[in-house]
Subunit: 154 residues, 2 copies
Amino acid sequence: MPTPSPAPDRPCADDETVGRLSVAIGRLNRRLRQEGIAADEMTLSQLSAMASVDRLGSLTLGELAAEERVKPPTMTRIVDRLEVDGYVRRVPDPSDRRCVRVELSDAGRSLLAGTRSRRDAFLVERVERLDPEGEARIPELVALLERLLEDDGS
Amino acid sequence: MPTPSPAPDRPCADDETVGRLSVAIGRLNRRLRQEGIAADEMTLSQLSAMASVDRLGSLTLGELAAEERVKPPTMTRIVDRLEVDGYVRRVPDPSDRRCVRVELSDAGRSLLAGTRSRRDAFLVERVERLDPEGEARIPELVALLERLLEDDGS
DNA sequence: ACACAGTAGTTAGCCGAGCGAACGACGTAG
DNA sequence: CTACGTCGTTCGCTCGGCTAACTACTGTGT
């Protein structure tokens, strides 16, 4: 077969495949940054944080940082910017005044909805460019990626 | 089929799936940064640039920037750092003295080899944590991701 | 009750990654 | 030879990530 890559002499999908995977992840990330951000004023980090709050409900800043795999100071600044732009609120936790809960504002929710679709336009278009066969496989792909992220330590 | 995700009421794998895809991409990228970088002094951008030079051979700075989907000033600085660290060389192009060709040094090549395997350790471990069924699907996943990146304009 | 250790978040300071604008050096068309 | 285009660099900016150090609070142990 003239397909350049397969090289089926290797028993399992290890080294080379994994290398290509991390390269592909990096590139897709950059593409998503370029495509997704141009439309609005959001950065990927801000968007991702807002999406987590939307999905999981009110979170403390620390929980949000952990969810986003980021250290607390980083999340503090991301939330700072989202707050001055009016997309989230800091709400003191009544039962533990050390904690700060982060909530989406209405503006945040609607911006999230609108932004998401625009940001995803690139991916949707890319997905649709695939043959139907490939397109049908996308959900599996996503599930697999999510399983790679399934967590434990660190 | 008891597979949890399909939800076949939606005609195709669009909006929500694509949203999850971009979230997963972002997270994996951050994880790779954390895991991969700790071991050595490389950043993902530096590594990715070196990998491109390794794969495609000597490139001009502009070609490299395009390949990495980055603007020239960004690539200039990445190459700056790689050069002071001795991993690449800037070689003037004899036929067009405006151009600068970027080449890997021996140190760069060996560091690339060593680093790649360490950086991939996280992914390899994650892949192996999957059931064999999932593991077997990784190559398809990679191929699909690469097809999403297949290029055209922009 | 009070002191002390531990936890949540912030502040300050550092660096890398990305961009656009402006510039110098070089090639090319006229 | 002049004028224009291209390549790379420099400058100056924002964002995102980190660590270290600090403040405010909780909880625990005498």
